[in-house]
């Protein structure tokens, strides 16, 4: 098994309260030692991290790998290759594949493909309901036995309150969270962007913030009654964040994630880009007031983690009328640079807090083994240049798709190397 000495870097590991210059020795794929200066053992490879930051491998708990069924958008192999390039050593992938990941055969298929590719750990999320139809529970226990770590009908909300109640009860047998794509579809209607001044100006049909808020409110009431474990995917409004705070104050087991695009862009972007379909996602880009509240949530600890909602779509699907385009954008290869530039360099977050949001936090939400460099833990490591400039070039992505609103953005901070179980998976020689 792989051994490696990463030396000369600044180690930031919020799980142990570490932030300072130190060397990291990996033996047999696990963290063996962290010390001020470690002499190179005989025969061990080295990685010079002088001037770089060394952290626990980043974890994205909300990605769409599109396999099986939509391999023209992404595969487990290309998606995890993109993850490694972006500094991520683990991803949790959503169940809206074709067919839906609602049975253990698909859990096993995803894990097999991930093993074959070898770029990142993949944690499959199974569907809550059979076929994501929102009618009856999927075989959650079978999927968990095969390796699923949570359930979600993401892409669609669980509209049926009784089904949601049962999911919150049943998942407690397996100790896994129910992840909700919180959206009341009757309020969304045919909406394609956030309802507000900009939808009014552009004449596009709006999706009100209340579509998310009423669902989060309903689910928190059900969480209270069931004592279940609830997680809000891609939380996007100020009021939903307040509801999460309220739920916590009542002792509920509720967590939430926020996506980088909701923290950086607003609904005005649709106008600024002349109706670019790369500004079309669900939930939609919200108001600047929402955006500011979400950033406050990162700072004050209400937000548990940042997750990208990496949603690959083919150029032919996105290059259509705004009304017709599918919802979603990529995230794996832009998240780290965006967060370093917009939050750390902008002085909004400390570097340890950002690492917590991208690594220790997401591991805690799903109860995953990573997110730490404690001795004995798997040697999943991200190494990045805090100050190096990078220009996002979608054409160079490892992902199969190119749908990002950040193409051409120049940012400060970039991933340099990614180590998985002591083995360098990015950049490849």
């Amino acid at each position: 098994m792989a051994s490696l000495l990463i030396h000369g870097g600044r180690i930031v590991d919020p799980s142990q309260g570490l932030d300072g210059p130190a060397d990291l020795l990996i033996e047999d794929g696990a963290v063996a030692r962290i010390d001020g200066k470690i002499a190179k053992p005989k025969g061990v490879e080295t990685l010079d991290a002088t001037g770089l930051v060394v952290t626990p491998g980043l974890i994205d708990i909300h990605v769409h790998l599109r396999e099986p069924g939509q391999e023209y958008k992404e595969t487990v192999a290309t998606g995890t290759r993109a993850a490694a390039a972006g500094g991520f050593t683990a991803v949790a992938c959503m169940a809206n594949t074709v067919p839906v990941h609602d049975n253990r055969a698909i859990t096993e298929l995803i894990l097999l493909e991930a093993e074959r590719a070898g770029f990142a750990r993949v944690y499959p999320i199974g569907a809550i309901s059979k076929g994501m139809q929102g009618q009856e529970l999927a075989e959650i226990g079978e999927m968990v036995a095969a390796g699923a770590v949570a359930v979600s009908d993401d892409g669609l909300p669980v509209m049926n309150a009784e089904l949601m109640r049962r999911a919150l009860l049943y998942t407690q047998h397996y100790g896994i969270p129910v992840i909700q794509h919180a959206e009341d579809l009757t309020l969304t209607g045919k909406g394609v962007m956030h309802e507000g001044e900009w939808s009014t100006r552009l004449g596009l049909i709006g999706i009100p913030g209340s579509a998310e808020d009423v669902m989060v409110a309903r689910d928190l009431i059900l969480t209270e009654d069931t004592q279940g474990r609830y997680h809000v995917a891609h939380l996007s409004t100020a009021r939903s964040l307040d509801l999460v705070r309220l739920g916590r104050s009542r002792g509920l087991r509720v967590t939430c994630e926020v996506a980088p695009h909701h923290l950086i862009l607003t609904d005005e972007e649709v106008a600024k880009t002349g109706f670019s379909t790369h500004c079309k996602m669900k939930p939609p880009l919200r108001s600047s007031r929402d955006r500011e509240a979400l950033i406050q949530g990162l700072v004050d600890g209400t937000v548990d983690c940042i997750a990208s909602d990496h949603a690959p779509h083919h150029a032919d699907e996105k290059d259509v009328e705004f009304d017709k385009a599918p919802f979603g954008i990529l995230g794996l290869e832009t998240t780290l640079s965006l967060c370093l530039d917009r939050f750390v360099h902008a002085g909004l977050l400390t570097l340890p807090r950002l690492v917590e949001l991208l690594s220790t936090g997401p591991a805690r939400v799903l109860g995953l083994p990573g997110g730490t460099l404690q001795v004995g833990s798997p040697a999943d490591v991200s190494i990045f240049d805090l100050d190096g400039e990078v220009t996002i070039v979608a054409a160079d992505f490892r992902s199969k798709s190119r749908n990002t609103p950040f193409d051409g953005w120049t940012l400060r901070g970039r991933p340099v190397a990614t180590v998985l179980g002591g083995r360098k998976v990015s950049p490849l020689p």
Partner: protein
């Protein structure tokens, strides 16, 4: 700045929102100079001879399409019509492929009407031809706003300082958005009025006053612009019935008395008589509805002319 001091530099006319008051003035003044052609016995000038204009209508629109066609013919352009029925679009061709095919025919101008906001912008990015937005969903309908302004100017001699009430289905109207931009840029006061279920979120951010009763909106208005009502939109009922709508928001002669004595009544058409407007108002002495149609041709001639880039020297 007067219109004489500026030149038209845009390739496309996508909306009013991005235009300056000087550009709007130039368009309106140019329309004035074309309006006389419509009164001649031979209503044709050679201005756009040898230029090709494609009218691309993805939504049925007899009125706007005919108006553009007449404007094109009066300017001697070669024009051709594409509409959705029977075209490649119904056979599943993507909009981009349609655009590329059009480009291959090397038109000089493309007039487009589409149900989705932003489609003219998408085409404009890909076509070398100038693109004229003839209505994109509920977004903009710039030539309608220009012809409305032209009509108002003819009657009031100015736009600045006027109080214009726009009434009806504000939420789904492209006409109202273009008119709000144009009138507020030119110094008029706009009040939008109508039912709460037909009022878009945050509309006041567009620089207008908002009234939720017809009476409040009409009080003191110099211009009363009615919009077509479609009670059922996007599968959602915004109003229980046409009868109930007319009771609250229909424009009657009695209600019109709240406006200025010399207020004019406008409607972009097609009208629902007895729903948003009573017939005796639509056909009454204050109505300028048919004049709007006449001026539409002059305004569209001006737009086609300015976008074609034909200069006076080329013309001769």
């Amino acid at each position: 700045m007067t219109s004489e001091t500026i030149r038209w530099t845009r390739k496309d006319l996508l909306g009013i929102a991005e235009l300056s008051p000087a550009e709007i003035g130039l368009l309106l003044d140019t329309a004035e100079s074309f309006s006389e052609i419509g009164e001649r016995p031979i209503k044709k000038v050679p201005t756009l001879r040898g230029k090709t204009v494609i009218n691309l209508f993805f939504e049925a629109s007899t009125r706007t399409r005919s108006s553009f066609e007449i404007a094109e013919k009066r300017l001697s352009a070669d024009n051709i019509n594409f509409s959705t029925s029977g075209s490649a679009l119904e056979k599943g061709e993507s909009l981009i492929d349609t655009a590329l095919n059009l480009q291959a025919m090397a038109p000089d101008l493309v007039v487009i009407r589409h149900g989705s906001p932003g489609v003219p912008h998408m085409l404009a990015r890909r076509l070398q031809a100038g693109v004229i937005n003839a209505g994109d969903g509920a977004h903009e309908h710039p030539t309608q706003a220009l012809l409305d302004a032209f009509t108002i100017r003819r009657h009031k001699g100015r736009l600045a300082g006027l109080r214009v009430a726009i009434l009806g289905d504000i939420e789904h109207s492209r006409v109202v958005r273009s008119n709000i931009h144009l009138l507020t840029k030119m110094g008029a006061t706009v009040v939008v009025g109508g039912a709460r279920t037909l009022m878009p979120t945050a509309v006041e951010k567009l620089g207008v006053e908002v009234a939720y009763s017809l009476e409040d909106a009409l009080r003191g208005a110099d211009v009363v612009m009615m919009l077509r009502i479609q009670l059922e939109r996007q599968g959602k009922m915004s109003f229980p019935s046409a009868k109930e709508y007319f009771r609250l928001f229909g424009l009657t002669r009695e209600r019109l008395k709240l406006a200025q004595d010399d207020a004019i009544v406008m409607h972009p058409g097609p009208m629902n008589r007895g729903v948003e407007i009573a017939s005796d108002v639509a056909d009454g002495s204050r109505s300028v509805i048919l004049e709007q149609v006449t001026h539409g041709v002059s305004v569209r001639m001006a737009v086609l002319y300015l976008l074609s880039g034909v200069t006076a020297s080329e013309e001769s």
